[in-house]
């Protein structure tokens, strides 16, 4: 079976240029139904551009977007009827109250009137719904934007940096809400972020974009597996450079990170023991020798620093 036919959202060979500047290069996203897809990348990597392409706000230079198995270019209005989106900062009319802001989109989409109160309650804004949106805090604005995205009870939610400007509590609340939406309501959620820590606790799948190319795509366990080959030994001694000269074979792959600190790729327990013995017999002091497992964040940074070929 064609893998994209079971996907809720898929892109094929998506390219986008801004004038002559290439922004996206052959992006093939695959989002399965019922997943929370963390779309990760540093600022300027092309996350927002991709999100806009998924909504038909931008026209791709090449490639296509499939929503619910249908070509977006041909069925845009129908497909968007099942999508809720929050792109960058929420689009709020400051002269209207929170409730009127929800109403404006509710009328535009022709949704039943009772939904307004329901989504306001869902994001905890019922008590502040009568206040003008200009009086809202950043966190409240973000929640109001989310309420508007949830109005149509969409099957697919596209959230672009939804935790932007939220305090730690707000980030936790947002995470809880996303998890709730997926687990209790079976929603599929694509959420972009430049911080992996925000995503790793909630995402089931991850896509990492770097300089307009998708450098990793897979489940969260896949990403975790990727990092196991990257454990390193941290060696602390008096004079790292001297050690390297004394033990050229053992320390060939080491990198100097401080006057007395060396990093080298971890290979085995035996390697660790041999290194300790060799250093001592060479008369060098051994202040510390420890194994470091890179965090998911290190893996993410590594992915976004490295060139695309690394993970291909």
């Amino acid at each position: 079976m064609n893998p994209s036919s079971s996907a809720l959202l898929a892109t094929q060979g998506l390219y986008f240029n801004f004038g002559k500047r290439p922004i996206l290069h052959d992006v093939n996203l695959l989002v399965e139904p019922g997943s929370i897809y963390g779309f990760l990348g540093p600022n300027g990597a092309g996350k927002s551009t991709t999100m806009r392409l998924l909504l038909g706000l931008l026209r791709p230079a090449a490639g296509s977007v499939q929503l619910f198995g249908h070509d977006l270019a041909r069925h845009r209005v129908a497909a968007l009827g099942r999508v809720g989106a929050l792109i960058e900062n929420p689009s709020l009319y400051d002269h209207l109250s929170g409730r009127e802001n929800v109403e404006a989109t509710r009328r535009l989409r022709g949704i039943a009137a009772h939904r307004t109160a329901e989504v306001l309650a869902l994001v905890g804004l019922t008590d502040n719904a009568h206040r003008a949106a200009k009086e809202y805090s950043l966190g409240m604005r973000q929640r109001l934007g989310l309420a508007i995205a949830l109005l149509s009870d969409p099957d697919l939610l596209l959230l672009d940096e939804p935790t932007n400007g939220l305090d730690p509590n707000g980030i936790i609340e947002m995470r809880e809400l996303l998890r709730h939406l997926r687990e209790e309501h079976g929603k599929t959620i694509v959420v972009s972020s430049h911080l992996i820590n925000e995503i790793e606790k909630v995402a089931t799948h991850v896509g990492v974009i770097q300089q307009g190319r998708l450098v990793f795509q897979g489940s969260l366990p896949d990403l975790q597996r990727l990092q196991t080959g990257r454990a390193r030994l941290v060696l602390e001694t008096e004079d790292a450079d001297t050690c390297r000269n004394l033990l050229p074979r053992l320390l060939a792959g080491a990198t100097l990170v401080g006057a007395g600190t060396l990093w080298l790729p971890w290979i085995s327990k035996e390697q660790t023991a041999e290194l300790a013995a060799a250093l001592t017999s060479a008369g060098q002091p051994l202040y510390g020798l420890r194994l470091e497992q890179p965090s998911l964040e290190d893996t993410f940074l590594h992915l976004t620093e490295a060139k695309a070929e690394l993970v291909r």
Partner: protein, 283 residues
């Protein structure tokens, strides 16, 4: 199960069909009408007609016995004074401001990206906002006429010697002027609408509009001045004549410049829509 949200089913072979264009337009209009609440565009519409009428009212209140010929009907002169005060500069500037303000509601809220990500076509968004501007423009003109009638009646009470209470209002001439003036504003309204949508800023369309109005005044003696959409409201205002017998003479058919205004309206909207339709939404 929580009634607020339903569970999404993993099967999605069929999409619900898109609502037909008229349903989309109706929804967009309902939404746009709501967004007008408490906006400067709405206040401008409701108040714009008051300024020229108040000015004319005060002139006649203090100097009416000098300006108006004794013994004749004061209405034609009063209506002409009002129309020429409003039509020369104020009306084009009003249309420029109104169009920019209505479009700025979305721009200020950075809502274009939101609007175009909703299940309504770009055509519905385009037509809906155009209808809002057209309706507000009509409301402003109707209020202007209502205020003229009200101010005249008030002068009849406060300055009975001027004779406003004794003579009949030339309603037919007034209605023709109303209709033709509205048509005369359509050309520049469409041009400003497209400029506002293309630049999505407040400053650019207001700057373009004001520049065009000022340039038009300088170009009035040009033989092709009747083809400039910004000149049309003025040309309509000054087309009004008063006969020796004191009767208001108003053309009962469209003048040439009003025809050009309609052409500008159709042309600008067509070209503008084509330019806007395929555009990328980057802000």
């Amino acid at each position: 199960m929580n009634p607020v949200l339903t569970s999404a089913l993993p099967d999605f072979p069929t999409l619900p069909s898109a609502p037909n264009p008229f349903v989309q337009l109706r929804r967009a209009l309902a939404s746009d009408a709501l967004k007008l609440r408490r906006t400067a565009a709405l206040r401008l519409t409701l108040l714009s007609g008051a300024f020229p009428v108040l000015l004319t009212f005060l002139i006649l209140f203090f100097k009416g016995h000098v300006i108006l010929k004794a013994g004749g009907t004061p209405w034609p002169k009063f209506i002409m004074m009002n129309w020429q005060t409003a039509g020369t500069l104020l009306l084009p500037l009003f249309v420029v401001l109104l169009t920019s303000l209505v479009i700025n509601i979305e721009t200020k809220a950075t809502a274009w990206k939101h609007l175009y990500a909703q299940p309504v076509g770009r055509g519905a968004v385009f037509v809906s906002k155009l209808l809002v501007v057209l309706a507000l423009n009509a409301v402003a003109l109707l209020l202007f006429v209502a205020l003229i009638l009200g101010a005249g009646a008030l002068l009849g009470v406060l300055r009975p010697k001027l004779g406003f209470q004794t003579y009949a209002v030339p309603f037919e001439a007034l209605l023709w002027m109303l209709g033709r003036t509205y048509i005369a504003t359509l050309g520049l309204l469409a041009v400003q609408y497209i400029v506002s949508l293309l630049w999505r800023s407040f400053v650019v369309p207001v700057g373009v509009g004001m520049g065009a109005v000022v340039a038009t005044i300088a170009l009035l003696s040009w033989e092709h001045a009747d083809k400039i959409p910004y000149a049309a409201p003025l040309a309509t205002a000054v087309s009004m004549r008063m006969s020796k017998a004191g009767v208001l003479e108003v053309s009962h058919e469209l003048l040439k410049h009003e025809g050009y205004s309609l052409l500008w309206f159709a042309g600008a909207l067509l070209v503008g829509y084509v330019l806007l339709y395929r555009r990328n939404i980057t802000n």
